[in-house]
Every structure is written in structure tokens, then in C-alpha cells.
């Protein structure tokens, strides 16, 4: 009886060591996936960001295939960096919808004139309300929205060249 009792600590330790050993062989993924994934877009209806562009509402995302939703601002330097890659995405056939945060119509117009306009529509969010609802904490961020208006992917930070094929892939999968 006692002998078995004395083996218990060794058994417990063997279990812990085994668990530790197994976890060491696993690659650690520290990324925390967005909590918004697989949830529908929050409801919004926003005015155009400047003259000559269209406004945007959440109902625009329901029906008509997957789309990209890009949160940006004219005052955001990484947004300038990602502008050419948005252009590439557009040329590859991705429909891109933009929402400019805390901007002015003049600045938005100047930005589009300088860096191109890949957007189907650009809405203005004066108080970053939609940004908070989407669980976004910085600019730029890009969401892949499927044809039912459900969020499929959240890309944090600027889109770089290497992200373009991945985003196109995700759009394809969202069909």
C-alpha cells in the first residue's frame, strides 16, 4: 500500500514533465485572433468623406460577393505606404471600400489626388465610432467581409507587398 503511495509524486511529476515536453515540441503561436471574426459587421450608415465619392452603410456589404473594408486616414503615414498595394489589389479585381477616420473633406481629397483612389466608396467616421465597434485600435486596418456581411479576417497594420496574395486568397475563399 505504502509503496504505491510513495509512487504518486513520481507519477504526477512524470505527467507534468510529459506535458512540458510535448508543449516544447509545439510551435508557439502568440497571435491572438480577432474576436470579431465570424461576426456580422456592426450596423452603420456614414456620409461620404469628400466630394465626388460615395458614402457607405453596413447594408452595402450584404450581397454581391466578398469585399475589403479598409480603415484609414489622410493623416496616417502608414496609410500612404499601403496605398500602392491597395492599388495592386484593386487591379487584381478586389472591391475595396474605405472609411476615413477623423478627417476633413479637403485632406481626403488631397490624399486621393496624391496617392490614388482604389476605393469604390469612402465614408467619413468623424468620431472613430465604427473603428471601436470593429475592435480596431489603430490605423490602417483592413477587414475581409464575405457576401453575407460577415467578417472573415482582420488585418492589423499596413498592407505590404507580401500580404497582397494572402488577401486575394482570403477573398477567394470567402466566396
Amino acid at each position: 500500500m505504502n509503496r504505491i503511495l510513495y509512487l504518486i509524486p513520481l507519477g504526477l511529476f512524470a505527467f507534468i514533465a510529459g506535458l512540458g515536453g510535448y508543449m516544447l515540441t509545439q510551435t508557439k503561436d502568440d497571435a491572438i485572433p480577432s474576436q470579431m471574426i465570424a461576426k456580422p459587421l456592426p450596423e452603420f450608415d456614414l456620409p461620404p468623406a469628400t466630394e465626388g465619392v460615395e458614402g457607405l452603410s453596413s447594408s452595402d456589404f450584404v450581397g454581391g460577393g466578398p469585399k475589403l473594408l479598409n480603415l484609414w486616414a489622410s493623416w496616417c503615414p502608414p496609410c500612404i505606404a499601403e496605398a500602392p498595394h491597395l492599388e495592386t489589389l484593386k487591379e487584381a479585381g478586389a472591391p475595396i471600400y474605405g472609411i476615413a477616420m477623423r478627417d476633413t473633406p479637403e485632406d481626403v481629397a488631397a490624399f486621393l489626388a496624391n496617392h490614388g483612389n482604389p476605393y469604390e466608396a469612402i465614408a467619413h467616421d468623424k468620431i472613430s465610432a465604427i473603428q471601436f465597434e470593429l475592435g480596431s485600435s489603430g490605423l490602417p486596418e483592413t477587414f475581409v467581409i464575405d457576401g453575407d456581411g460577415v467578417i472573415r479576417y482582420q488585418h492589423i497594420g499596413d498592407i505590404r507587398k507580401e500580404h497582397v496574395p494572402m488577401l486575394l486568397d482570403l477573398l477567394e475563399q470567402a466566396k
Binding site: R3, P9, F13, A17, L19, G20, G21, M23, K28
Partner: protein
């Protein structure tokens, strides 16, 4: 040159650990005549010289950091030439390699002290203990030299260092890790002694008396280290909490719980020759928890705020060491424990009974903490991410802490071997009365959580119970060790009071105000005087000048800062504290949040009033002080007893000599 000397010293120390292990092991095999074995000569000197060499290696690294020798990789990646001198020094152990070197140096130092000072045990038990100590040290030398060489040079010296994580650029880091490490690694002596006693079947009260001061010494440092670490997290992280159940904090708490159980069970063994196997088990467990903690923290398999540079190779290495040492020790325990008779029996209502109960509860809390720490790992193996926090740890550990505190109050009043509960009826009634009155009063006067309420009532009862063992004794004749116990138990009550009060009565305010505006936190008025940009040696900051006063009394100034460090660039929040006898006002400043109606800039301020929060750390210091007194008392009593025995032996020899001689000497 100096780093090479350090590395050479490390290699030599490793070689000596082999000598210590082999000599100790071989001399032990010649049964009973350990002293006579030729190998027995080597183990002790090997331990002592090894300690000198390991400390020399650490000093060499300290020097490289002090002069910012950028040809050493570790210095280049963790220091910077324009860092304040103190933080250059503390940077030595603010990284993986340096802190492991400190770990190993303390390990060797403990072994050296054991080999150099301890002469009370039977020699072959001592040789076995030294062999185990050398064996443990060898593994960690191999780890250090093989996969974490702190003295590695760069092929081309760096032009400038990367710098030290700003969170670590704090006086807290100067004290907290070394103290904690002395505690962690000091437990290795208990481990070696326990293994030595088990291997040579010498689990006796005499052995327990020898082991006790070593356990107490390590435990005192561990207590101080945890207390200091908790205070450091409290003011440096700027989150306003003092314990976060972070895996690294848990890794320091688990050895402490095991060591606390150990020092109580070792007392039972010393006084009554009971709990033999259990004491050995705890001796193994305490240091095993230290090693397990090191593994969890360094391998990066758990996510923690204490992020060390993660390297799976290192993790594998430490895991192998764990398998050898913990697995080996528990294996020997399983095989040998039944050969160590369980020792004397005792009644449930006795001092031993109370101590056993305390041991079981402490071990249960240890299991709770261990489970909570490993649980995320367990679920992650099945691809589910969870994090375990206070909602689990607080109630689960309280479940066992509450009965433990109850028994802690009455245990010291009980007699050894057998006692009747009736004998301490009056004390018991008084304690229950205090507890109930406290519970009702606090329950009526304040709205608090159940746990905080119980904590407050308990702390009152425990504080008084701590001094009850003095009843009916002459104060001047109470042994120092008993004073130590009283002080430590009183410290528990004090710390418990601080914890309960902090969780029950803290007032918190998050405000966005501009210069000249006032906000209220509890009884305090906080006025934002101005916000200024200031610069330090390697940082710039926005500093708020807050003028705070309570009920219109004279105002104090608090200056919390939002610091931006360069090299490495990182932002930290420097909290500002105002300590009063009945609590602390804690303020941090956040970001600017735009302009108010008059166009003045508004700033985020976060302010807490934490009544009696400081008692948590006063309590910790009292507990450590109690342990220190107990250690001094035990060692002194023991030395005195030995001196008396020695004198008697000498007298007898002298008498024999006198009788043998024809004429007495002049």
C-alpha cells in the same frame, strides 16, 4: 581578458562539481567509516573552492557590465554605455544568461557553505548530501556553458549596446532577483540534505535539527524576495495591483508554500521524531518547485509578463535536467521511503496534529496554484486557449487557507503528543468571540466581498492569537525561536489585514482633467497643477504635478510620469505614491485626450486610494524577520548545547589524565 577568466572559472567550478560528486559518492560506499575513506577528504574542499570560483565568474560578468564591455555579446544586447551606473550593474541579472549565472553562483555558494560550515551530521550522510549537491550543480554548469554562455564574445565589438528593458531600470531590480534567487537556490541544500539522509537512512531528529536552519535561511530570503517582487510590480507596472497570479509569480510562490510546509514538518521531526517520510518528501518538493519554476519561465511554454528570450533548445535542456533531478529524487524516494519507518505516532488534538493539518492545507494550496499555472498548458495541448486568473485562484486557495488560518491560531497553544481541546477552552472561546464580533461589525459597517470580510475578521483574531503562546510565560525566558514564531504568525495576520483591506476598501478613479481642475477620490481632493516635459539620463517624460489633500488638510505633491525611454525605445508609466499610516494614494498619468471647452489640454489620470495596502509588505517583512529570529535562536541553542557536551567530554578527559598522572601539574 576578464570575461575569459570568468569563463575559465566556470569550467573549473564545473570540474570541481564532478570531483565533489564522485568523491562524495565513493566515500559513502565505504559504510560507516566515511571519515576514514581517502575520498572523503575531497568533497568538502571541492564544494568550498567551487563556491569561490562560481562567485568569481559572476564577479567577472559584473565587471564586464560595469565597464560596458561591448565585445561581450550579453553586454551588447542588454546594456548601454549611457545607462546610469547602478542599472549597468543590475543589468547583469536582468537577462537570461546573467540571471542563470547568478543562479549557479548561489547554488555553488550554498554548497560551499554547507561543505564549509556543517559539521553536525554523521559524516557519510554529509558526504551523500555533498555528492547530491555536486550532481545538481554539474547539470546547471552544463546548461550554462552549453546553451547559455554569458561570456560569449562578439567577433566585432558592437558600437553601442541595445540597452536594458526600461521596466527593469528600477531600484527594485537591484534587490528583488538576487534575494529571490538566494531563496530558490538555497532550498537546494534542503534537497541535498534530504536526499543524503534518505540514501544513508539517517532520517532522525538530529538530522532535522541540522536541516532546520538551512531551510529557515532560504525561506527568509524567499519571503523577502516575494515581498519585494510584489511591491516592485505594484509601483513599477502602474496597474495598481500587488499580485497578478502571473506564472512567474506563481513560480516563486510554489517553492515558498513547499518550504513553509517543510519548516513546520521539520520541527515535528526535530521535536517528536514523527513525519519522517513526509519531511523528506517536502525537502525534495521545495527545490523541485524552484527548478520547475525555472523551466516554466525560461522555456517560454507559458506566456508571462516576465518574458525571457525564449529558446526551445534551452527549454529542452532544462526539461532533461528536471527529469534527472526531480525524476531521480522522486524515484529514490519511491524506492527508499518505505525503508524509513514512519516514526512516532500522535493524537489528532496535539501540536503535531495541528502542524500536519497546516502541512496538508499548504500542500493543497500548492496543488491549487500548480494546477492553475499548468492548466493553460494542458488546454493548449488540446488547442484551446485559456488564461487562469484571480476568479479561480482567489476562492480556490481561500478554500484551504481559511481552515489553515483557523488551525494556525490554536495550533501553537496545543501540547506535543497529546492534548485535550478542553485545556484551551478559554483561549478558544476568546478567539471565536473576536472573530464573530469582527465579522458582524465589519459586515454591518462596510459593504465588502465575502472573502475580504472573512480576511478582515481573521486578521484580527490571528493577530491576537499570535501572542497567546506567551501567556503564562516569563517574557525574559521565552526562547528566541518562539519569538520568531510569534512574529512570523503576527506577520501573517498583518499581511492578511492589508490584503483584505485593499480588496475591500480601495477607491479608484479614472478622470480626464485639465490643469487647474480638481477630482475627488474617496476623501482625497486631487488637483492637477501642471504638466511638464522633463528629461532623465536616458528618457524623456511628461510629468504631472498633482496637489493632493485630505479633508482640506495641508497639500502634498505627487508627480506621476509617463516616460518614454530611448534605447530600447519603450514607454513606461511611473506611478507616484503618497504613503500615509492608513494607506497609500497611488497616481498614474496616461495620455493626453484632446482639448476641453476652453482649449486647455486634458490628461488621463488614474488614482487609487488603497487603505492599509502597505500592511501587505510590512507583514511580509515581519514574517521574514520571524524566520530570521527562529534561525538565530535554533543555531544558538544548538551551538550552546554542543559546547556543553564538548566541555563535559573535555572535563572527563582531563579527569582521566589527572588520575593517570602521579603528581598534579602546578
Amino acid at each position: 581578458m576578464i570575461p575569459e577568466i570568468g569563463l575559465a572559472a566556470l569550467w573549473l567550478a564545473a570540474a570541481l562539481s564532478v570531483l565533489q560528486m564522485v568523491a562524495g559518492g565513493l566515500s559513502m560506499r565505504e559504510k560507516g567509516v566515511g571519515e576514514g575513506s581517502p575520498f572523503a577528504l575531497y568533497a568538502r574542499p571541492a564544494a568550498v573552492v567551487q563556491a569561490v570560483l562560481a562567485v568569481l565568474a559572476f564577479t567577472a560578468l559584473l565587471y564586464a557590465f560595469a565597464v560596458t564591455d561591448l565585445s561581450v555579446k550579453l553586454v551588447a544586447t542588454n546594456s548601454h554605455s549611457e545607462k546610469p551606473f547602478l542599472y549597468k550593474l543590475t543589468g547583469t541579472w536582468g537577462n537570461h544568461e546573467g540571471s542563470m549565472l547568478l543562479w549557479v553562483a548561489v547554488l555553488a555558494l550554498s554548497g560551499g557553505l554547507l561543505g564549509g560550515l556543517e559539521r553536525r551530521l554523521p559524516e557519510h550522510t554529509m558526504q551523500a548530501a555533498l555528492a547530491v549537491q555536486g550532481f545538481v550543480a554539474l547539470g546547471f554548469y552544463a546548461f550554462l556553458i552549453g546553451s547559455s554562455n554569458p561570456f560569449e564574445r562578439l567577433p566585432v565589438p558592437a558600437a553601442e549596446g541595445i540597452g536594458l528593458n526600461p521596466l527593469l531600470q528600477d531600484i527594485g531590480l537591484a534587490l528583488h532577483p538576487p534575494t529571490l534567487y538566494v531563496g530558490y537556490v538555497g532550498l537546494s541544500v534542503a534537497f541535498s540534505l534530504a536526499m543524503g539522509a534518505l540514501i544513508t537512512r539517517q532520517v532522525t531528529p538530529e538530522f532535522a535539527r541540522v536541516m532546520r536552519p538551512w531551510v529557515l535561511g532560504a525561506w527568509v530570503f524567499l519571503t523577502l524576495g516575494i515581498t519585494a517582487g510584489s511591491y516592485w510590480a505594484y509601483y513599477e507596472l502602474g496597474w495598481g495591483g500587488w499580485w497578478f497570479w502571473d506564472p512567474v509569480e506563481n513560480s516563486s510562490l510554489m517553492p515558498w508554500l513547499a518550504a513553509t510546509a517543510l519548516l513546520h514538518s521539520v520541527s515535528v521531526l526535530a521535536a517528536r521524531d514523527a513525519l519522517r517520510t513526509w519531511t523528506i518528501m517536502l525537502g525534495v518538493l521545495a527545490f523541485s518547485m524552484s527548478m520547475l519554476g525555472t523551466f516554466l519561465v525560461r522555456s517560454g511554454i507559458l506566456t508571462s509578463v516576465h518574458a525571457f528570450a525564449v529558446d526551445p533548445e534551452r527549454g529542452t535542456f532544462i526539461l532533461i535536467l528536471l527529469l534527472i533531478y526531480i525524476g531521480g529524487a522522486l524515484g529514490i524516494f519511491a524506492a527508499r521511503a518505505s525503508a524509513v519507518a514512519e516514526g512516532k505516532t500522535f493524537a489528532i488534538t496535539s501540536r503535531e496534529g495541528a502542524l500536519v493539518f497546516n502541512n496538508v492545507m499548504l500542500t493543497a494550496i500548492l496543488a491549487i496554484v500548480l494546477l492553475g499555472t499548468l492548466y493553460p498548458l494542458l488546454t493548449e495541448a488540446f488547442d484551446v486557449r485559456v488564461s487562469v486568473g484571480p476568479p479561480y485562484f482567489n476562492p480556490a486557495s481561500a478554500l484551504f487557507a481559511v481552515p489553515m488560518f483557523l488551525v494556525m491560531a490554536i495550533g501553537p497553544l496545543l501540547r506535543w503528543k497529546q492534548d485535550k481541546a478542553g485545556r484551551i477552552n478559554r483561549e478558544l472561546a476568546a478567539l471565536i468571540a473576536i472573530f464573530v464580533v469582527g465579522l458582524v461589525l465589519i459586515g454591518l459597517l462596510a459593504e465588502t466581498s465575502v472573502l475580504a470580510l472573512i480576511g478582515l475578521a481573521f486578521s484580527a483574531g490571528l493577530a491576537i492569537a499570535a501572542f497567546l503562546p506567551l501567556r503564562g510565560r516569563k517574557l525574559g525566558r521565552v526562547p528566541i525561536a518562539v519569538w520568531g514564531m510569534i512574529l512570523a504568525h503576527f506577520g501573517v495576520a498583518v499581511a492578511l489585514f492589508g490584503m483584505a483591506s485593499e480588496s475591500a476598501f480601495t477607491e479608484e478613479k479614472l478622470a480626464a482633467i485639465s490643469a487647474g481642475e480638481t477630482t475627488k477620490v474617496g476623501e482625497w481632493d486631487v488637483t492637477l497643477g501642471s504638466i511638464n516635459a522633463i528629461a532623465g539620463p536616458n528618457w524623456t517624460a511628461m510629468e504631472a504635478r498633482l496637489s493632493v489633500s485630505r479633508d482640506g488638510s495641508s497639500a502634498d505633491t505627487l508627480t506621476p510620469q509617463a516616460r518614454a525611454f530611448w534605447s530600447p525605445s519603450q514607454a513606461t508609466s511611473e506611478s507616484a505614491l503618497l504613503t500615509k499610516w492608513d494607506g497609500q494614494l497611488y497616481a498614474t498619468i496616461g495620455q493626453s485626450v484632446g482639448l476641453d471647452d476652453e482649449g486647455k489640454e486634458r490628461w488621463q489620470l488614474r488614482i487609487w486610494w488603497k487603505p492599509f495596502v502597505t500592511f501587505i509588505w510590512y507583514g511580509g517583512v515581519l514574517i521574514a524577520l520571524g524566520g530570521f529570529l527562529a534561525m538565530i535562536g535554533r543555531v544558538r541553542d544548538d551551538l550552546r548545547k554542543r559546547k556543553a557536551v564538548k566541555r563535559r567530554v573535555e572535563e572527563r578527559e582531563d579527569m582521566a589524565e589527572l588520575a593517570g598522572k602521579a603528581e598534579p601539574a602546578e
